[in-house]
Point group: C2
Chain length 250, copies 2
């Protein structure tokens, strides 16, 4: 955090949030517990409703609490998913038939739903990246510990993957990267671009995002050793559920 050299007293709403956060992190308040409501905070601290709301909003924005309509604000603990940029895409992961998601979740249960697989004409920016106007597109939603955490849309150049399991719902052991390898198009290089923004309404709905939670957008392109683009994948992540990690050398 960037702070002034002369320490200021933080504003009251922040001190209240700090206190509640400490009670959550110490385990005194637990997952699913109801936080003190606006009325209780107003009475306890002699503050206005807007200030009480601000204090609760801090914890909601930090992903430590979630509002339920008409019922209050509840502790929502969720161990962030550590997504390791390079390790998860190492060839010995998908090459041995493991799902890339196993590397992310380290044994935590994950599910995939809202799956769509279709052949379509793609937007111009995607066509430019893939060097193909037609693509096989795979959309899906990932949930971990029962919580939706990511929407992903992968595009594959249509002619390159026609007739393979990439065009069907179940892609088999090792997933799409193992199938690309079977086609002689094994991914060798990856570029990931990362942005953050507020979610679109449909993303809010599908990820069940509380107000004030941004999304992280990862746009990854996979290339063969020969430099041919074989996949463009746009992932939309609940920012409260993820830490992205990248390791590299000087």
């Amino acid at each position: 955090m960037f702070e002034s050299p002369v320490p200021h007293d933080p504003p009251i709403y922040r001190r209240i949030a700090d206190g509640l956060r400490a009670r959550i992190l110490s385990g005194e308040l637990r997952d699913g517990d109801r936080l003190p409501g606006e009325n209780a905070l107003m009475a306890d601290y002699s503050i206005a409703r807007a200030t009480a709301r601000q204090a609760l909003a801090v914890l909601i924005n930090e992903g430590l609490a979630v509002p339920k309509r008409g019922s209050g604000v509840y502790v929502r603990l969720f161990k962030p998913i550590r997504r390791h940029g390079s390790r998860r895409l190492a060839r010995d992961q998908w090459g041995e038939g493991r799902a890339i998601w196993d590397a992310d979740t380290r044994g935590r249960p994950f599910t995939v739903d809202e799956v769509e697989v279709l052949r379509e004409e793609v937007p111009e920016d995607v066509a430019d990246i893939l060097d193909s106007r037609e693509a096989w597109t795979r959309r899906r939603r990932y949930s971990v510990d029962g919580r939706p955490v990511q929407l992903a849309t992968s595009y594959f150049p249509a002619r390159a993957v026609e007739g393979s399991a990439i065009t069907t719902a179940d892609t088999g052991p090792g997933g799409v990267y193992a199938r690309l390898r079977d086609l002689g198009l094994a991914p060798a290089h990856f570029t990931e671009e990362i942005r953050a923004r507020m979610p679109a309404p449909r993303e809010t709905e599908l990820l069940g995002l509380p107000g004030g939670t941004p999304v992280i957008v990862i746009a990854r392109t996979a290339y063969t050793a020969g430099g041919m683009p074989v996949e463009y994948n746009e992932m939309v992540l609940d920012s409260a559920a993820y830490v992205l990690q990248y390791d590299f050398d000087a």
Copy 2:
């Protein structure tokens, strides 16, 4: 973007935002131009004020426009900074006395201000990472094209850097990494952790963030070849100003 297989008509506020965005991206509306106000949108589309506000909020959230108090909403174009995770920290960058920031901005003018250098006791999580309770801390703000884009706080284990230029405002050619090398502590490995969240009030102020703009937080640890942690740097980025890029192999 994640979309339903059956296309829905987007809501009216989104269609208005789409139209304005197209006019911005086509160059019809230019940097600094005033967008149609709430009253104009209400009259043109027969919509409520809340809907007009929602349409403008979409463009503000996307970093394409900025509200000015009492005056309206203006186009704010800013070519995103492409921050290349590994290339910018390559040894031949700082080893030859170049600032790492030159790699990010590719010739665009950048300035550094709000600089503070102090010796201090650090928070427990930082102490754990650096294996030192005392650190030399360097805080600063970076601006590109006159716009504040990043706050950064670097911590160095106090005993390791005592007496070096790292403890002074001007660190000389190649910056802190070249000075660590001079001390026999050249960074060899980096770990970056990336998160996104809404900004704290002080971050909003120092970065001049319009409402609804999240920040990206990068926490980087630099290690020597022997595995000694020599810097922990926490960077807070205006998400509308940045694209982070990471390249790696399968």
